[in-house]
Each structure stands twice: as C-alpha cells, then as structure tokens.
Symmetry: D3
Subunit: 194 residues, 6 copies
C-alpha cells in the first residue's frame, strides 16, 4: 500500500469539478505525473482554484525575475520552514529551470554557502527576511535590493513569492503532504549523460 499523500481526504479525479479535473489533467500531460499538491488540495475546490491562480500569477508571470530565480526563492524559504513537499518538488523544478543539478540542495540547506551571484544573494536575503521576520522589513532592506539592481516591482515579486510560500509551506506541513517520488531525481542527471 502506498504511503498516504495527505492527512486529509484525497478525492478521485472522476469526482472533481470539470475545471479542477482539467487543470490536473493538463499538468499530468506536461509533467508525466500528477504532483501531489494538486490532489491534496482538491477536496476544497474553491481554495484549490484560488491557490493555483495565485501561484501562477506569481510563478508564471512574464518579465522581471527569471523562472529559476522564482524557484530559488521557494526552495530557500521552504528549507527555512522545514517544508518537505516544497523543498523536494520545487527543488526539482529549480534544477530543471536553472539547468544546474547542484543548486537546489545548496539553497535548501544554507543559501549563504550556495553558488550564487551577488544579485541572487541579495534576492534571497530579502526573501528570507519576509519569510522569517517580515515585521522587521524596513527601508534599508529595499535599498539593498535597489543596490543589487532590482526594481521595486521585482522587489514585490520577491516578497510576494516568499509570502505565498509561507502559506503553502504551512498547508503542506499541517497536512503532511508527501512529495511524489518522481521529484527526487528530476534535473539531477545532465541530459547528455542519460
């Protein structure tokens, strides 16, 4: 018997509202499997819709931060929040998007020791402050982002991604959401070596 993917009910695909089912089938088509977060949130269709609309607005937005940078924020803050689902799943996506098999494990454990540019380091310092001590965010923190070349619009993205995964990490931890086995190896083997 496979391990449970959530403490909460996991509906069957056939019982879902059509738009929720379509969204899930689309991601399955693209990824080759259904990431468990889609199944674990499906028992609450309205929250499911809002969650993924929010996620896409932040993570799939055109312009500004690269997609790899966005995933890097997710992995660093999810590591700090000890969220297994988000570190494993977004770690996989980060490896793929950054075409770098090492970066996710580095950032998840201690971003200060990771192979980062100074721009990336400034980005993660702001993200970690929003994740861990948002009540202390001040003008000085924005000036550090300015200095690293980020626009205020990009500053919002960095902070908002950290804030959204503050939500996501808590949902995953409270529900003991289990990452799919497929994520662990994704992006680790360079294409030409396979």
């Amino acid at each position: 018997m496979p391990a449970a993917i959530s403490r909460f009910p996991v509906p069957e695909l056939k019982d879902l509202a059509p738009d929720v089912r379509s969204r899930i089938l689309a991601v399955q088509e693209k990824a080759g499997f259904v990431p468990n977060v889609f199944l674990a949130l499906a028992h609450r269709p309205d929250e499911f819709r809002a969650f993924f609309a929010y996620h896409d607005a932040l993570m799939e937005k055109e312009g500004g931060l690269t997609k790899a940078e966005r995933e890097m924020i997710v992995v660093a803050t999810s590591g700090a929040n000890q969220c297994q689902y988000c570190v494993v799943a977004h770690g996989a996506i980060l490896r793929v998007r950054a075409r770098n098999p090492l970066i996710a494990d580095q950032v998840a454990v201690n971003y200060r020791k990771a192979d980062l540019s100074s721009r990336e380091r400034a980005m993660l310092e702001f993200a970690m402050k929003v994740a861990l001590a948002a009540h202390e965010v001040s003008e000085a923190d924005y000036q550090a982002l300015d200095k690293a070349g980020f626009s205020r619009d990009e500053a919002w993205d960095i902070g908002a991604i950290a804030a959204f995964f503050a939500l996501s990490n808590r949902l995953a931890n409270m529900s003991s959401m289990r990452p799919n086995d497929e994520f662990y190896l994704m992006g680790r083997v360079p294409k030409d070596k396979k």
Copy 2:
C-alpha cells in the same frame, strides 16, 4: 497630506479593471469606506483576484466555524506575527461579529489570558502552532482538536486560515500597509449606548 497606505503604487479606482473596481465599490457600499488592503493589492490585479477569492473561500464559507471564530484566528495569529494592518482591521471585524468590544484586544496581546471557552482555546492553540511552528504539527495536535469537538473538516479551516494569514501578514508587513483610521473604533461602543 495623509500618511501613505503602502510602500508600493496605489492605483486610482478609475484605472482599475472593471471586476476589481466592482469588488472595491461593493465593499465600500457595505462598510462605508474602502479598507486599504483592497487599494494596496490593486496594482497587481491577478494577485488581487486570487487573494480575495482565497480569503472569501476561507472566511465567508457557510457552515463549520462561526465567522467570529474565523476572525479570532486571524487576530491571534496576526498579533503573533506583529502585523498591524491585520490586527487592527480584523480586530474590528471580530468585535462586530462576536458582539464583544473586549475580545480583539485580549486575543491580539495574549490569547492565553483572553475570555475564551475551552473550544476557542483549543482552536487558537492549533492555529498558533500552524502559524509559528507548522513543521512540528503532529497527530497529537489533531487529537486535541478532536477532543474539543472539531471535525477534521473544521481542523482544515483552522489551519488554512492561519496559513492564509501567514501570507497576508507578510504582504502587509513588507508593504507597510496602513489600517484605515475607521477600524480602530469599530465595534467598541455597544449599539444601545451610542
């Protein structure tokens, strides 16, 4: 000159997409003023839509927790996160919904010393754990909720509200979102005394 309500751009109503503007006008109609969170998030229409869809799915849901209980979770966890906007704005809503002029200040400062039923205390203990140490949530925490009479569906609500305001508190703190002056006095004067 009035104090800024956010570090980020605040668009004018006339420049907003029709659905965003409608939502804002509707809340203004009902409350008598526009809560600043609507204006502070409007520069990002997709995130605005997702944020309020998520908010409503959790806070306006029929059945299960009462609306006063939901607001109580918001106030307690926002106090712990030192989020001025959420404590002041949701404190007002809590006073109104609970018809209790004292409860919001009590819960914001230290829920352990508030005038709570044992059910409410169990609810806030779980919510605070999701807010502050979700990585440690375990079966024992769910059993404490069971014992206090909450269904697993209500347990999800408690945790999900705490998780959603982990996001909301971080957005408000990172943007220095300012609560409207109107909130401070709302619900403090019993109707028959006015």
Copy 3:
C-alpha cells in the same frame, strides 16, 4: 459573577492598611474607578507600597521625557512581553496623554509601523533592547540615543521604565491580572465627538 481579576487573593478595601486604602481611594477619585492592579497587589502591602513608589518615581517624574513618551515605552515593551493588563491599561493612558486615539494599538502590535517621530523611534529601539536583550546593551546603543537628542539622564529613564515594566508585566502575567473593562474605550473618542 464577574471574572476574577487575579489568581491571588484580593482583599476588601475595608481590610487594608490606611495608607494603602487612601492611595486606592485617591486613584478612584481621579479615574472614576479602581484600576485592578491596585487591588491585585494589595494582598502584599509592603510590595504594594514599593511598587507604586517606584512607578511614580519613573512615570510621574517632572522634566525629561513627556508623560506620553513614558507611556509609549510601557505599551511597546508590554506588547513584546504579551502582557494584557499593561497593554490595555497603559494603552488607555497613552491615548489620553498623547491625545491620539490610534497610537496605542499601533505601538502595541509593531512600533516599527507606528506613526512615530525619529526621536520616538530611537527611544523605543533602546527600550525594546532593554526589555528583550539587556545583556547586549552597549555603548553604540547610547550613542544612538545621543544622536536622537536624548541626554544620559533621559537614557536612564527610558531604560529604567522598560526595566520596571519587565517586573510589572511578569507580575501581571503570573497572576492573570485582568484589565478593567473601562480601559478598552478610554481615549478612543475625541472629546468633541462625544
């Protein structure tokens, strides 16, 4: 039956030593009610006398900090210590003394986001350090006060008030001291609106 104001014995006025009773009647005369801290400490007359002598020496002292500034220190540090009695009671006094219905709630939740002058901010930064990490206070902290225009005598006041309420907050929390209902609304309605 009204809620208990303390876990410990609360003597009746008639059973108190004359000087203790006089002090209580005087405050009742002035405030219109007896703040519960007077009743909650009365079971220990010698500690009562020392507590209020110390309180008055710091809070009623002529010159130096304004009385509103002194109360602001109390509210900020009591918020950090999660002391319901002191936040509610001194929040009321702060609103009255500062003639500002918003400031107490702002300072109690997160002084960094409150409507403060740079002088007030420097004052609260020092007070919070004494409250939360006095073992790290160093020359640099005093220099920051110098720069904000405080004399060393005023620096003592700031730190000593934070230190005295470290005591007061702990007494209130250990005894579950209950703030009087009257405090919650005090100073919230501008005089000309009543």
Copy 4:
C-alpha cells in the same frame, strides 16, 4: 585607576540624602564593604528607596521560603538573563546562606544539573518560566508547585522574586554595573578551613 562601576553618575556618600546615606552605611557596617548596586542607584534617590524597599519586602520577609531558596531564585534567573552583577553578588550571598560553596556556580550555569532537592527544582522551574516566558504561565504551573508542597503564598514569592530580578538584571545590564571584587570569593572557603 579602578574600573567604573556604572555607565551612569556615581555620587559621593557626602552628597546623598541622609536616609540613603544611612542605608549605605548600615550595609557597609554589616558586609564590610559597600556593594556597588547601592552606589550605582544612588543618583536616583526615589528609585533607590523604592528599589531597596521592594528588595527587602521580597528577600528579607519572615516565613515561607528560606533565605537560601530566595537567593537561589535570584542566581538561576540572573544567569538566564546574563546579568554579571546579580550572578556574582547574589551567588556570594547564596553560598553563605546555603552554607554550600558549590551551589551558586551550579545554579548559575544550568540549574537542571545542580545538586537540588525535588522541591528546589520545582521552585526554579516556576521561577525560570516567570523570568523567560511569563506570558505562558498557566494553572498547570501552579499545580506543579502545589505538588512540590508550596503554598500559593509561597508561589507568589517565587514568581515575585523572579519578576523583581527581571527589573534588577535589566538595570544592571543597561548600566554595566560592576560587581565588587569581594563577592567572588565570599562563601567559597569553609570556615574551619580558613
């Protein structure tokens, strides 16, 4: 040149009010030297009077806790607050009052590893909670004291001493109050060995 005993002014004995000077001369007569706390607080005579009145009400009170037990609370909580003056000065008094040359260093570093009776351990557990997390004190903490044989009146003493030294530790740390050299060796050499 001897090291400063405080960052703040230290008046000369001849310039003090008669009652303050008398108090200081009395302690000098008894101890053989003037503990620096008397000199460091003398620049504020009203606070001096209140401080020592409070101190004596708690530490010199007849009945209830033994004087050694009272000092043990001071040393344990002052160690947790990293207060050099209070650990060194009250460590000396504890050694003398307990007639035990080892106990002060044990309790200052880690009371859990000290040579304590189960009564003393329960006392220090309550005192440390008041010192470090008074906002979490609950009925269960009082029940633990009951079980260890303490009356509620003694419970107040334990908590009030921890609370008073929360004040005292902060004053000493903020003023860099220096313990007298005499304290370090007091009570370390058994009388019959000298």
Copy 5:
C-alpha cells in the same frame, strides 16, 4: 577555475605526512574520489588524525546501531545546523547504506515527515535534542530511548554522534567547506535502473 573547497589552505597530497596521505589515498581508492573534508582538514595534521579517529570510532564501530542509522543521525542534525557539506556528503552515504534514494532529503528537511519507523523517530528525537538543546537532556529522554528498545550503550552512540557532528558542522560552516559534486547524485539511481 574550480570553486574553492575551503577558506583555509589546502595542502597538496605530496606535501602531507605519510600517514595522512595514506589515509587519503585509501579513501580515494574506495570512493573513487577524495571527499573534500580530507583535504580541508589536512593543513592541521594533528587535528586531522584526531578528527578521523573520532569519526571512525563512532561511525565504523561494530554492533549496536546500523551504519544507516548512524548516517541518519548525521543528516538530521546537520540539516538543523544548516551544514551544507555534511548534509550533501552524508546524505549520499545514507542513501547508499539505507539503499533508499529518498530518505536523505526527507530527513535533512524535516525528520518528522520522513518515512521512519518508530524506533528511528525516537533515535532522531534524542539526537536532535543533543544537537540543539543538550542542556535540557534529562532522564525522561533516556526513558523514551529505553521504550524504543535502545540500550544505554546505544543511547551513548546516538548522543555522541550528534555531539561529534556539532563539531564537524561548525568546522565545515566556518571554513565554507564545499561538498564534492560527486555526492549529489550518489545513491539516487537504483542499481538495476542504471
């Protein structure tokens, strides 16, 4: 130019004392590469010898805990200490020794959510307490190990491994020791799939 493996000098093999060089060549022979910890500690031959003697005494000891269990303690406590070298290098060894490609990432992020037996969970709870709050270890912690079936001799092993990696994690973090690229993929691909 390859990234530095340490902030401190890294001697060349030819310049090392014969016993140090032999040890390094032996591990190279066995692993196929030289783990960077051997090179990063070689500038201090006496510390090198003591470090690896201690390591082997704890990690290669016959009997008691399995080798996979020992590595699990290393990975969990190194994750808590944010030590990149130890999480990546010992994560690899754990995958190999446990023949489980998922376990290391699970344990590094949050052992409470990992696929563990109740015995393994009890083992890691004790190890984490030694790593993070050894001053609070008490008889109750040993009783929990007894109940999970560990002998007192095995209890020593669990605690001593956590203690040794408290040292190792600090050396790696202070020197910015870099894990070899080879470790990231080790043990991730089941043998029969390669």
Copy 6:
C-alpha cells in the same frame, strides 16, 4: 555516598587499557586529582583517545593564541551552552592560566561585560558566532579578526576550539558529567594570600 559523576558507566582504573590508564595517572600526578571527564569518557577507549588527542592538539599547541586565551574561548562558549562541567573545570584553568581570579565568572555569565582587551573581545565574538550560529559565519567575521590582529591561522584556532567544545559541552550535558569539587576554588586565592 558521593554523587554520580556520569549517567554512564565509570570503569575502575585497573580495568582500563594501559595507555588510557597512563594518561589518567599522568594528569592525576600533575593536578593532584583526576578530573572527572577522564573517568566519564573511559568506558569508550577509542573515543577517549581521539577526544584527548583532539583536545591537546587545540589546547596545548605551541604558538599563536596564549593558553589563557584558549581557555577563555572554552569558558565563554560553554557558558552559552549551559555546560556545568566545562564552565567549572575550564573556569578553574582559566583563572590559573590568566592569573586572574575574576575573569572566569565574568566571561561565563556575559563576556560583553568582562574585563577584556579589544583583542579578546573580537576573539570571543568570533568564537560565540561559531558556537551559536556557525551557519552565518561570513567573510565579514574574518575581517573583524584581521582588524583585531589575528592571523588566519589563529582564526582557525579560535573557531576550532569553539567547535570542539560544541562537542564537549554536548557530551557533558547528555551524560550529566559532574565537575570535581576541587575546581570550584582553584585559582581564586592569590598565591601570596594563601
């Protein structure tokens, strides 16, 4: 019956391997008694040998830091880790090596308030960071040591001693290792006063 010196077995001298026994007899010859750490680790001869080899490599090394400076690092970090054995035993050695009867108690409670040179303060700031937050050590920390006149080789010593006692403190706390009574008075009485 004397108090136990460890929760774990303490072998008799006659049952020890010759090299372990010789080492113990040598220290007894020199100190006049056997420090309990030798007895408490003897049940694990291989760990005993590695522990003392490592200890001597760091603490008895010629050149660089003085022996008093090395002991000062031990006492400050062991105080922060609440390790009774190490504070008491190394406090004694520090008093002797620094010929200063006050310094150990000062450093154990709060090194910021101790009688230190600016060089010693810089040394302890680095050591405390390695002890308490090694994952945050950065180039800026090394620059602070450079500025205080330490070579990089000495920087290693400072950090490595802090790291080694992170191990040692955890072993002592997990085993409830008891300091010998002899340590408490050592170095407190100037030679010419005895």
